[in-house]
Structures are given as structure tokens and as C-alpha cells.
Amino acid sequence: MGSKVGAPEKLIVNGKRLDGRKANEMREMEIEVGVIPNADGSAIVTLGGTKVICSVYGPKEVLPRRNLDTEQAFLNCVYGMASFSTSERVRPGPNRRSTEISKVIADALAPAIFMERYAGMEITVIMEIINANAGTRTAAINAASVALADAGIEMRDLVCSIASGKADGTLMLDLFEPEDNFGEVDMPIAILPRTKEITLLQMDGILTKAESKKLIDMSIKACEEIYEIQKKALQKKYATETQQETE
């Protein structure tokens, strides 16, 4: 750890993290729904310094036709980082990392969607990281799930996601950049809040059995908070549209 260039000496000072949070505290999350008029559904998620914009198009005709699946929908997820999103410029276009994350996100979202009701159709989910400060894939999943709901896609549930990990020997929620770069463990997780099914679980580093259990429990609790934020954001947009009926 100490050998890395630019690493801070300690990631926990006086029992608090470098940005002043407690170990089990999330960064502030904001969700705005319906930000792209030309998309069928869209959302912006801000989680501390991480900002992701997501647009959903579909259901629509599958193009190119070779992607057609007559049994279920073709879920086309595209994760990308804007070239200006990090301190060091990212070369635009798909690369090994973004292709992998796109696939992982598609797998995390698919169990929430009634894929069989959209047989022979395509649903495109485009996620662009505007600003990266750790936890981009989980923020992208949160944005995508809200944007899918905004597009009126039939879903079993929303998907909530958070990255947690371990730094300086302490388990902590929602890592930010120094903790992500110089910490010991990074573990993104995505769940369906209703059934608590886990649809994404990745891990970098080593945890004991007890630690991983504790970290998963912590993450699930945070995901429930995120679910409430997602719900509020969606209801806020649609409540104004149906004001008269609700009065």
C-alpha cells in the first residue's frame, strides 16, 4: 500500500474517513429522472463525485438482425467513460474494461426485466460516466434501473447497487477515489430490493468469510436506502404529471 505513488499515509484519521464520513456512511446521492427528451427514458445519478447519465431507448426493432432473440429481449447495455471524466484523459471508444463492465451491467439488470415479454425486440441502455470518482459501475446500474422504469419497461423490480470495501483494515461503505485506489478490497454489489436477490457481486482483494458476510449485509442495507431515493425520484417526476388525478 505504502509503496504506491501518491498514496495518503492513512485512509482513516480519528475514526473518520478522509472525506469526513463514518465507515457505514454513503455519499450523498441525487437522482433526476427524464433529463433527455429524445430518449424513451433517462436519468442522471450523482453519488458524491461520481456522475453518470443514462438513457434508455426501446423496446424497438433489433438492429443488426443477428442479435435477434425470439425467446427474450436483446438487452444492449453500453457503458462508457467520457474522455474528461477522470484526471487522466480516457481514450474515447470501447475498451477492454468498458466492454466487460457493459456485460456485467447487462447481467445485473436482466433479472429485473420481464425479458420474455419483449421477445424479438431490443432495449438499449446507454450509460456515460461524466465524472468518475469510484463506484461508476454501481452508479450506472442505479441510473439504468431508474431510466428503464422511466421508459415504461415492464420490470419485476428496480435494481439498487453500491460499492463497498475495506481500507486500512476497516470495512466501509461506498468507497471514494483514494479508498478505491489504495484500499485493500473493493466489492460492488447489486440487488433486487424486493427479494434481496443479488444480481452482481464482484470483488478485488481478500476478505475473510465473516468479513465478506458483514460487508454484504452492510451493502444490502445501503441498497435499501438507495431504493427509497430511486422511488422518490420516479414519483416526483410522475406525480406532477398526474397532479389533478391525485388531488
Binding site: D40, G58, P193, T240
Partner: protein, 229 residues
């Protein structure tokens, strides 16, 4: 086993929201049953009628049902009919036999004599096969080819507002403008009349779409159509 309802009429729910517990209630619209409970599948408005809990979608594309009246665009030719396009991922076909009560003789005429690409047709969905094959009929009146006029796009979820309660809004539009107006459930509207009136109706429909949630809409639309008449 507990029977419990978690929502009330006119609530707004998000996908996955628990609506009711127990087998007493029945899901309808965009609601679904998982185990013994009922959940919402899309963002939508709740309507409770007795034991039936319905989720009316507030967003999403049009999904065809048998008996729906739609406005479709001719997109291509088949051997004995046309391929239609609606603002939806579903493909619809119009057979030659479905355009007129009379026999259409293709020996002496071409398909293009009846419909050209880009024409619009007003018709009813007669059948949806299991393989997703959808056919349209424009035989009987008022179904027909739409000659002239203007097509405007409105979201399929806003169609009920444009029609109004028992057709009150559409009647207002028709009476005050003198235009012919047809509304397709797939989210397209066709207006025909004076060029000036057409533009006015189009503007009024856009207003309904934008302010569908506000009250006093009928008065606003009336004022809009009557000005400078």
C-alpha cells in the same frame, strides 16, 4: 393468510412496489402476481375496482391489443398487402382483402394504386397471432385511407386525456374547429380542415399533452380555439 392492500386509488407506484397481499385480490393491467402478493410492473397509476387492482402505465410504448383502433403508416409492400409501421416495435400487416368491401383485382391493378409508401391508414387490429403476427382491417367505415390532412405524434399514454371523459375533449376540438380529427390508440392523431384551423388544433393537442395534469384544461382549449375567429 392475511389479505392486505397496501395502496389506494390514484396512487403512483414504481416497478416492484407491493400492491396487495393474499389471493383475494386480482392483478390487472401492468400488475403481476408473484407468489401470493401483487406487485406493479411499470411506473403507473393505481385503479382499484372491487377485488381488481389495475396499474395504468404512465410511460412506455404502445403495445397492440385486438380491437384497438390505430393510425399506421405504409412502410413497404408485401405480395398481397402492405407492411405498416406504427410507433412501436411491433410489425403490422394490411392485406389487400382488408381495404375494401369490394373485390380488389390485382390482375388489373397494382398494390401501389391503392396505397403508396408514406400513406396513412386508419384501421382496427383484428388479430394477433401467437407468433406476434398482427393484422389490420380497414374494410368497414370509419376505417379508411387518410387523404390529406396532418399527422401529429402524441404519446400513447396521453391519448385518454385527448379523448376526454366520454369523448368530451375530442368533441370540443371537433365542434370548435370544424376539423375532422381521428385519434389512433398508438399515439398518432390525424387532423384535416382549413390549414389555419389545423394548426390551431395541433397546437391545442400539444397543449393537452403538455398540461394533461392541470385542471381547467377544457376552458383553456376552448379559449385557444375561439380566439381570432
Amino acid at each position: 393468510m392475511g389479505e392486505k392492500i397496501h395502496i389506494k386509488d390514484k396512487d403512483i407506484v414504481v416497478p416492484g412496489a407491493l400492491l396487495a397481499e393474499g389471493l383475494e385480490y386480482l392483478p390487472s393491467g401492468r400488475a403481476f402476481r408473484d407468489g401470493e402478493n401483487i406487485y406493479a410492473a411499470t411506473i403507473g397509476l393505481i385503479s382499484v375496482k372491487g377485488r381488481v387492482i389495475k396499474v395504468i402505465p404512465l410511460a412506455g410504448k404502445y403495445s397492440p391489443k385486438r380491437g384497438d383502433v390505430i393510425i399506421a403508416k405504409i412502410n413497404g409492400f408485401g405480395k398481397f398487402g402492405w407492411n405498416l409501421e406504427i410507433d412501436s416495435p411491433y410489425k403490422i400487416d394490411l392485406n389487400v382483402g382488408e381495404i375494401s368491401m369490394n373485390y380488389v383485382d390485382l390482375k388489373n391493378s397494382k398494390l401501389a394504386d391503392y396505397f403508396k409508401i408514406g400513406d396513412y391508414v386508419f384501421g382496427e387490429i383484428t388479430d394477433i397471432s401467437e407468433s406476434g403476427y398482427i393484422s389490420l382491417s380497414a374494410k368497414r367505415r370509419p376505417y379508411r385511407k387518410l387523404l390529406g390532412g396532418n399527422i401529429i405524434k402524441v404519446g400513447p399514454t396521453k391519448i385518454p386525456r385527448i379523448i376526454g371523459k366520454q369523448g368530451s375533449m375530442i368533441k370540443t376540438l371537433k365542434d370548435l374547429s370544424g376539423c375532422e380529427i381521428l385519434i389512433g390508440q398508438n399515439g398518432l392523431a390525424w387532423i384535416k380542415g382549413d390549414a389555419e384551423k389545423e394548426a390551431k388544433v395541433a397546437k391545442a393537442i400539444k397543449l393537452i399533452e403538455k398540461e394533461s395534469h392541470l385542471s381547467g384544461l377544457t376552458e383553456k382549449v376552448k379559449a385557444m380555439l375561439e380566439e381570432k375567429n
